[in-house]
Each structure stands twice: as C-alpha cells, then as structure tokens.
C-alpha cells in the first residue's frame, strides 16, 4: 500500500489562537478518509495547510514521499498535484465555466488552448455539465457550481483531492447530486480527504473516519466502529449531538 499523504504533528495558530495542536494523519493511495468534527475544530485549516494555502507553524506534510512544508519547496508545483474544492465554490465569476476549468491546465500546466478545452468539455459532459460550458457561474444552480468546482480541480489531474465541506453551502435538495459525483470519484479510485458534516455520506464512502476535536485527532478508525461504538467519550458526545439534530 503506497502512501499518498502523511501529515506529521502539524500545528497552526492564528493571532495567538491555536487551531491545530499536533495533527498526524496518513492516507494511502486510492483511500478515502473523512474528517468529522464540530465547526471550528480545525478541519478547514488542516486542508488549507495541506494545500499550502496556509503555512504550518510546525510539523511535516509529506506528499508521496516529499516533504512539501519544507522551506525552498516550489509551492506552485505542489499545489498543481493537490486539488481542493471549497465550501463556497470560489468559482471565478468573470469567466465562463469552460474558462474556469481550463485556467489551471493552461496557465499552470502550459497546455494548449484547444487541447485544454477539448479535455474540459469532455469532463464537463461526463459530470452532466456539457451544456453549461459557455455559461457564467452566476447562471448556474449551487449544485451545478459546486460540480464545476470539482471538475476545475480534477482538470489538473491531481494525485490527491481535498474536499472542504463542499455541501454545506447548498440547499438540501442539491446535496445529493454533488455527493454522487464524489461517490463516482471514490469508485474510480481517487485519493480523497473529505471534511464533511454529512455523516451518512461519510459512513458510506469513507474507508476511514478521523474525528478532529479542538485541534487534535481524537479518534480514527473504520466508519462502522466510529459511528456505532466510538472509544473516545468526546466522539460519542459529538455524534449524540449530531443524532439529536437529525443528521445521522
């Protein structure tokens, strides 16, 4: 089993508030790991640190054997290999869907326009967005926008995909179409680290679930065990609250 990602003892604080307190986590190739935990537990921060969008204060981030958090590493090269999809989509509103998807391949990978566009149209069609290629993002539904954001990340052929609560900004009836895309990707063997509040989805899709609590991984294991028989009382507490809220 080859290792896709290893996070070692990563710490991060903002203006004196410590968000991550020594997080360690590994992902094998083709593995899907779901990060669960309350808002503010550090899920987003961890994903942003892995994609080098935030510098870590301490610890190592090893992507396929290379420590990418080290000084002197070409961060742009690392980011090209890691895809991230954000909660608020962050599509570029002044560009068509096609341009959103081809920007990375053309400007970061140096692909030719015709080649990049052909590939992008193919991918959009595969995700049911073929007729949307020439629209601007604000003409699309939230679910469609988030699917475009996923295609934009996939267009870079990443080794690893990070999903940061990608359904939290969606109306309930649009959550399904986005989660189905993620299920497809998992079935195709995409390596994914998924921060999510959708516990049912996490239980279905994850090979492993990690519970992040106050900046630490409090517990991790197979979803069946975490969701039915958590060892850590904090995990139990968190899951009880979720069940109360009718989300599991």
């Amino acid at each position: 089993m080859t290792e896709a990602l290893r996070v070692e003892d990563v710490s991060k604080s903002y203006d004196g508030t410590t968000v991550l307190k020594g997080v360690s986590l590994t992902l094998a190739e083709h593995e899907v790991v779901c990060l669960i935990g309350a808002s503010g537990s550090g899920k987003s921060t961890l994903l942003r640190c892995i994609d080098l969008l935030e510098p870590v204060d301490a610890g190592r981030i090893i992507v396929r054997g290379e420590d990418v958090a080290e000084r002197g590493v070409d961060q742009n090269r690392v980011r090209r290999r890691i895809g991230i999809v954000f909660q608020a989509f962050n599509l570029f509103p002044h560009m068509t869907v096609l341009r959103n998807v081809t920007l990375g391949p053309r400007e970061a990978l140096g692909e030719h326009r015709t080649e990049a566009e052909e590939r992008a149209r193919g991918m959009l069609a595969r995700f049911g967005l073929g007729d949307r290629a020439d629209e601007y993002p604000d003409r699309l539904s939230g679910g469609q926008q988030q699917r475009v954001a996923i295609v934009r990340a996939l267009a870079m052929n990443p080794d690893l995909l990070l999903l940061d609560e990608i359904t939290s900004a969606l109306d309930p009836e649009l959550v399904g179409e986005v989660l189905n895309v993620v299920r497809d990707l998992a079935a195709q063997g995409m390596t994914m680290l998924i921060a999510t509040h959708e516990m049912g989805f996490a239980r279905d899709i994850a090979g492993r679930v990690a519970f992040l609590d106050e900046g630490r991984i409090a517990e991790e294991g197979p979803p069946q065990r975490i969701f039915t028989d958590p060892a850590n009382p904090r995990t139990r507490q968190f899951l009880d609250r979720i069940i109360e809220a009718g989300r599991l």
């Binding site: 969008l53 954000f86 989509f89 002044h94």
Partner: protein, 294 residues
Amino acid sequence: MATPPDAPAPPDEFGGSRRSHLFRDLFRQEGTKGVAVAVVSTIVVFGVIVYVVTHSPNWPAVKHLFFNGKEFVSTFPEIASKFVRNIEYFLICEVVILAFALFLAVLRSLPGPVFFPLRLMAVVYTDVFRGIPTILVIYLLGFGVPALALKGVPSSATFWALVALILSYSAYVAEVYRAGIESIHPSQAAAARSLGLTRWKAMRFVVIPQAVRRVVPPLLNDFVALQKDTALVAFVVAVPEAFLQAQIFQQGDFNFTPLLCAALLFLMITIPLTRLVDYLLARQRRRRQAGSAL
C-alpha cells in the same frame, strides 16, 4: 457570497428603483397633480431669479460683457477648434494613467518583506502626488524641466505639463485600483493559487479583471475631473487650447463671453460622462441586489 443563489438569477430587465432619476421619480411618485405643482413651483422660482438678475442696476453692462450673442457667435468656432487639443491631452494622459496607476497599485499589493521597499515607494508616491495641488505640479514641471535645458530631454512645456497631469492623476487612480483589488475576496486568489498558478498569474487572471470591473464608475469620475483639468495646461503653455484661446479673445475683445464658450464646451463632454457614471453605478447596484457577484 457565502450562500450563492441556487436558482439562476433573473435577467435584469427592470430599471433599478433606487436609481435617483430627477424626472422619472417625480412622475412615478407624485402623479399628475404633483407634476403640475412641480411645474408651477419651478416657473415661479426661476422667474424670480431671472427677474432679480435682469433688473439689477448693472444688468445691461453684465449682459454685454458675459452674455454677448455677437461675441459668442464670432469666437465659438475658434475656441471649439482649439478644444480638440483638450480632448487630445485628455486621451493621451488617460491611456498612460490607466497603465501607470495599475502598475503602482500592483506594486503596493505585493506581499512579503522582500517587496517592502517597492511598497514603500508606491505609498510615498501616492501620498506626495495626492498631497500637492495639480496646478503646482504643472507649474513646477512645465516651467522647471524645460529651464534645465537637459540634453535628450524634451523641452516642450506642453509635454511636461501633460507629464504633470499624469503623475498627479496616477496617484488618485492608483488608489481607486487598490480599493478594487482589496475588495476582491481573498478566497478568489486562494482558488487561483490552489490550481498552482503563481502569485502574479492569480493577480493577472483572477484578481485584476474583477477589480477593474468593480472600479469602472469611480475611474470614470476621475476621467471627468481629468477632462476639466486639461485646462490647467494653459497656465504654462503657449500653444492655445480652449481655455487659453478663450482668454486670448477675452483680453483682445474686452469681453468675457469667450470664457462662457469654453465652459459650454467642457460641459458638452463632462455632463454625458457624468450621466454614464450614474448609469453604471446604478447597474452595479442592481446586479449586486440580484445576487450576482460582478
């Protein structure tokens, strides 16, 4: 846009209700009776003003000096032909300002300690040139640089007066750009960087295009001001543009009507431009209300 709309935004086919339309608002909000009242009240107010002015003791002399029909007809064509120069000055300056100011704004937004000196330079530049009256910069450069008689440096006062306008206005326009750049949410740059784009490419493809779109109305406001300020060139230059030509007529004919001609010419450009700004601002507001991100 934390929660983007899940239905496509409706096309904006309605005029914005919050746009302040002097005439349209009157008709919509006050009805026929209101309009009648407005007409009567307007006639009374302007009637009184006209009566007071035209019955002032010195009105015939003032009329002859400032509102002289004959003088107007004889000088207007010449002044209008010189006004072409003002438009030329305006266009030349504007193109350079748009590029130079953007350069300054980008310098100022460079991150990290390495770029501190460049940021500092950009800050000092904008502080200095926004702090000096434009007319002073025009005097200093327009008279000063040609007086140096430097070899290989243009000695035309017009050239340096235009340089002065460019330096002065670039400071203002750079601030407008900067406000635009800072108004683009950091998540946009983060999304671009996450694709592996360099800082510069994220700026060029994602941040600047959105920032520029957002600041078009305030930029146009500065255009209006610049168009007016091309008249300041007259203070250091011998080649007449509209204002200087009007002054020449005024001094030759002992009549102020030519200045009125020049004023009218400026209004012919600035009023439509101002209306365009209002229109664009209203459209932007409408789009924001419709939930679009642009």
